[in-house]
């Protein structure tokens, strides 16, 4: 197990280098001069443009820019964005908000997805099951921004249960609505995954054996059915945490959350490669760590994997 962990963590180094290089290259090759984004519609003088280019290394070829960025990274200096703000400060500012949002969404989709999925699976073909299948289908089919604006208008503007937008503090109560919207699609997937797994496992031999042994229905479902049904769900949830953090762009836009999604979007538009790369790097780290966690969870859920 120890070696396994070390190997997994060492694997992160090439993933990290490859990903940053790729992203840096992609941002670098976006069309348009980054100084045009700084100077705006009215432009600035050639002298100002030249000075800006020098200041942000925009006059250097790709490799030089990338190595200067890596060099800074080694000394924990992420550089600054075009407004002169340290990137580390920007990240420290926006990540906690998005992390809170993503975790809230994850908890929502995991708890409700699994509970609803379990009941739907146990009552296969009944009214509850069919209703949930239709509901989840609708949620998956309707674009997230439609759901977002709809819920914002209904709960924020019409019913006034909450503010339509999130303030700078991004408190727990303010984030409930955006977290619901963010987690809604994944909720539908978790529901369907759980339901299918439960239906499959409910008719498995070991469940029949357990029932035949005279175990209580509670124990049969709670331990035997659930534990095995959780394997595909855990895989999905693990990968989803990273997706939720990065995929918050639409939701954060609708609810005006000052988070990773919005910052990333602006940085891409402005061609601020160091900002994009730094944020995406953190996202990659979260993704890889979440996957590691899932793999460890597997071993706990299914002992056969432990010895493989």
């Amino acid at each position: 197990m120890g070696w396994y962990l070390v190997r997994r963590i060492l694997q992160m180094i090439p993933v990290f280098l490859g990903a940053t290089l790729l992203i840096y290259f992609l941002v670098f090759s976006l069309p348009g001069d980054a100084t045009a984004a700084i100077c705006g519609e009215k432009g600035c003088t050639p002298a100002t443009e030249a000075a800006l280019r020098e200041q942000y290394n925009l006059d250097q070829p790709f490799w030089v820019q990338y190595f200067l960025y890596l060099k800074g990274l080694m000394t924990f200096d992420l550089g600054t964005n075009f407004a002169g703000r340290p990137i580390s400060e920007i990240i420290a500012n926006v990540f906690p908000t998005t992390a809170r949002l993503a975790v809230m969404a994850l908890v929502f989709e995991a708890v409700f997805g699994i509970i609803v999925g379990l009941f739907a699976g146990l009552k296969k073909g009944k009214l509850f099951d069919s209703t949930m299948l239709v509901v989840s289908l609708v949620v998956i089919a309707v674009p997230i921004f439609v759901l977002g604006f709809l819920m914002q208008f209904l709960f924020g503007v019409k019913l006034e249960w909450t503010n339509p937008t999130v303030s700078g503090d991004a408190s727990f109560t303010e984030l409930i609505l955006p977290a619901l919207v963010l987690g809604l699609v994944s909720f539908a997937y978790v529901l369907r995954l759980t339901r299918t797994a439960v239906i499959e496992n409910a008719s498995a031999d070991y469940v029949r054996t357990a029932t035949a042994k005279g175990l209580s229905r509670r124990r049969v479902i709670g331990v035997h059915v659930m534990r095995n049904s959780m394997i595909p769900v855990a895989t999905f949830l693990g990968a989803d945490l990273g997706a939720l953090m990065g995929g918050a762009i639409v939701t954060e836009g609708i609810f005006n959350v000052n988070g990773v999604g919005n910052t990333l979007y602006r940085a891409v538009l402005n061609g601020e490669a160091p900002v994009v790369v730094s944020i995406v790097t953190v996202l990659i780290l979260i993704f890889v760590l979440a996957n590691l966690l899932v793999d460890l969870l597997y071993a706990w859920l299914d002992p056969r994997i432990r010895y493989a």
Binding site: G32, K42, A83, G84, G168, N258, L269, N270
Partner: protein, 544 residues
């Protein structure tokens, strides 16, 4: 409207002001009604740079700077200038100016506002080594070339001289009668000495001399809000009528609009396109629609082969006459724009809607076809280069109206034409400044200061920074410099309009419409008025 007999002066002033603004309200009386203890929450966008007057060239930061700083002059709602820091601005030849400051004005850190506060700030803004975005605003001042040349180490412009604490002189490279008009623009604001020592740090928490000041350390929470409180020491025409202004940053207008209709936001400057149809219903009588100094055009570069020479000119006129501006502004913008009659904007002093040649901007399909055929006879249109209109798809909602313009031209002239979206603003700007456009480009201009020259000089003179069409016309250049050199603003305006007649004939860009500010406010505030530049007069807004 009440009419006070006790003070004749006040009555006359009020009537004059009413005639100008053409809308009621008692805000011209010395005391405005309303709750002055309310903090007004308004929409903003994250300033793209630290808030240094010479380095802010976009509206998000500009709105904040205009409240925190006061220049030599300021503009009232109609764009007329009024003295702020200046006691007097005098000249005899429109080239040498003597500027005297009012006594006893201070920055909010206690430093006095002196002649050096201006001279040092302007020199800082112009010097190439400081790479300030608004550097070009100082180009009329003598010595700018030396200071602003690429790689230059010169830090001072020879045209600026401090005479004493309250006086300085400005020498321009050539006579420019509208120079005093510019001095209310943010690039010309004074800065205290500490600003120039560490501009980046200063820009996070600027110290100014205007009607408002930052609400202490951390008043600017990036991408969230900027909190301003009234500057108690400020005495002037823009004295705060509320307990502060908080700029709440929005990622998009649609979100801000949701906040407005649920009273979480007090003032919204721009109604999002998607809500244009409904906002008058949603907001009852809490909305405004007023023209401001901005326009929208389509520039067609002269370096494209179909669009040069005599045939090119005929085609430009044909295109212009094939665009049904009335219908597009009505249908697409729900009357949120007004059809253009010339190249500037109707709120400006000197504007005229019937210049010779303005008939070229009227919808006239028969004449358009006629002109197009005439051009075909001179020189057949090279069909391998059909006309496109480039626009940026990332912000500003240009797609809809570009499509409408394209359809209008296609229907009337039967030629091949299409919109050409670019993913980002920077991409299309880069191509335009490099002179590598393959077709027309949507362009627009928002005034920096209320003057006709600001709409003509920077865009259409030979080699000008925003001359996307690469228009060159010696006579036009001459007319502009004559206008600038004129002894008075009136004479200057006349010359500017003479220059416009040439533009109306040549059409380096095709004017489409003038911008109209469409905004709204919440149930909690009153006394909302929009200025000449489409920005609300924040200082005058009070609670209900």
């Amino acid at each position: 409207m009440r009419y006070s007999r006790t003070s004749k002066m006040l009555g006359v002033a009020a009537i004059a002001a009413l005639a100008l603004s053409a809308c009621g309200g008692g805000d011209n009386s010395t005391e405005s009604q309303g709750d002055t203890s309310r903090v007004i929450v308004v929409d903003g966008s994250e300033p793209q740079q630290p808030l240094i007057p010479t380095n802010t060239n976009e509206v998000g930061g500009g709105k904040v700077l205009d409240l925190v700083f006061a220049g030599l002059i300021s503009y009232d709602a109609e764009g007329k200038s009024q003295n702020e820091m200046a006691e007097s601005i005098e000249t005899e030849d429109s080239q040498n100016y003597t500027i005297k400051l009012k006594e006893g004005k201070t920055f909010t850190n206690g430093d006095p506002v002196t002649a050096s506060s201006f001279v040092d700030a302007w020199n800082y803004g112009a010097a190439a080594k400081n790479a300030q975005l608004s550097s070009y605003f100082f180009e009329s001042i003598e010595g700018y070339d030396e200071a602003a040349a690429e790689g230059s180490k010169v830090e001072e412009m020879s045209g600026l001289k401090v005479v004493d604490d309250q006086t300085f002189t400005v020498k321009l490279r050539q006579p420019e009668s509208d120079f005093p008009l510019r001095l209310g623009y943010s690039a010309f604001f004074p800065m205290p000495a500490e600003a120039l020592e560490n501009p980046e740090k200063f820009g996070e928490n600027p110290v100014g001399n205007g009607p408002y000041k930052f609400d202490g350390e951390g008043a600017w929470q990036h991408n969230q809000e900027i909190k301003l409180v009234p500057n108690e020491d400020y005495e002037g025409p823009q004295k705060a009528q509320n307990a502060g202004v908080t700029f709440k940053m929005y990622q998009n207008d649609t979100t801000a609009y949701q906040d407005l209709i649920s009273d979480n936001l007090d003032v919204l400057q721009t109604i999002p396109t998607s809500d244009i149809q409904n906002f008058k219903n949603d907001l009852d009588d809490r909305w405004i629609e007023s023209p401001y100094a901005g326009n929208q055009t389509i520039a067609i570069p002269y370096y494209l082969k179909n669009w040069d020479g005599e045939a090119g000119q005929l085609r430009r006129q044909a295109i212009s006459m094939a665009i049904n501006r009335d219908e597009i502004t009505k249908v697409i913008f729900n009357s949120g724009r007004t059809p253009a009659k010339e190249f500037t904007a109707p709120v400006l002093d000197g504007y005229s809607d019937n210049l010779p040649g303005s008939e070229n901007l009227e919808f006239n399909p028969e004449k358009a076809k006629e002109l197009w055929e005439k051009a075909e006879k001179l020189e057949p249109f090279d069909k391998s280069e059909p006309l496109t209109i480039a626009y940026n798809a990332d912000k500003g909602d240009h797609k809809t109206w570009v499509q409408a313009v394209v359809n209008s031209i296609k229907n009337e002239l039967g030629i091949e034409i299409s919109g050409k979206p670019y993913a980002t603003f920077k991409e299309v700007r880069t191509i335009a400044t490099d002179g590598e456009l393959t077709g027309a480009i949507r362009a627009g201009w928002q005034a920096d200061y209320p003057s006709l020259a600001n709409f003509l000089g920077p865009i259409y003179t030979t080699g000008a920074g925003s001359n996307d069409a690469r228009y060159t016309n010696e006579k036009f250049d001459q007319a502009i410099s004559d206008g600038l050199a004129a002894a008075s603003v009136e004479e200057g305006n006349e010359a500017m309009n003479k220059a416009q007649e040439m533009l109306l004939e040549d059409l380096p860009a095709i004017p489409l419409w003038y911008q109209v500010a469409q905004g709204g406010w919440s149930n909690n505030v009153t006394n909302v008025e929009f200025g000449w530049n489409g920005v609300p007069l924040y200082y005058a807004i009070t609670g209900k």
